[in-house]
Amino acid sequence: MSTILKIFVFPAALVIMCLGVLTILGGHITPGGGFQGGAMIAAALIFCLIIYGLKDSPFHLSHDFLSAVESVGALIFVLLGIAGLAFSGFYLYNLGVDIYHIVPATIQNLFDYPDPTHAGIIPYLNFAVGLKVMVGLTAVVIAFMGFKEYEEESEESEDLNEEEVE
């Protein structure tokens, strides 16, 4: 890739990431949410991967990191659902809003989202989905780039073997 792209893409990716996070944070009252914001962050990471390549990318996305973030996202979602089940009897009940007035005020305050909308657990669910989508989409591209490199390496080694046989 050209030098201009290599200089421009990393700072641009950082700004795109910020906009992705903002999309996640506004998901409870504006168009967007976890999936869309996560896809925007993934787009920024993929942008870097395409321009710099898998080895030279300034974002080091190891297998451990990707699996950990994906697991944390899934766990947050499931635990919020189980918390609703435990305190109200309904899976994924919005404990922070409590429209049926069936949970104690302490629990309601605990799961409240501190902003003017008081959307309860919805922003936290968006956050969890955003984490999962971000690493999920990035992992697909990393896997494809890894397969491509592996294919090229295996083709090169086959060529070398054929030359040695001849």
Partner: protein, 91 residues
């Protein structure tokens, strides 16, 4: 001016996680120094001011979540992203 805790905390957390992944790769021949992050912060402030108090907040004239994310990315880079360890290729 009221800065709400929810978007600020979540933005900072997500930005921090992303910032920890940034590491210099000496083999690539490119080095993103402090100037890149200062420029990024200035651009983030301009973008957040242009965005307004997203989403439908009225406490500040700028998007506090975006500023928090930018600060989180820089903090994550400063705390965990200083090493130059090469990326491990999965077998």
């Amino acid at each position: 001016m009221i800065v709400y805790l929810g978007p600020t905390a979540l933005g900072l957390l997500l930005g921090f996680v992303l910032g920890t992944r940034i590491k210099d790769v000496p083999e690539s021949g490119l080095k993103f120094g402090a100037s890149v992050y200062i420029l990024f912060l200035i651009v983030a402030v301009i973008v957040s001011y242009a965005q307004g108090p997203f989403p439908y907040y009225t406490g500040t004239p700028f998007a506090s979540g975006l500023i928090a994310t930018a600060v989180g990315i820089i903090l994550g880079k400063l705390v965990f992203g200083r090493g130059n360890t090469p990326q491990k290729m999965e077998e």
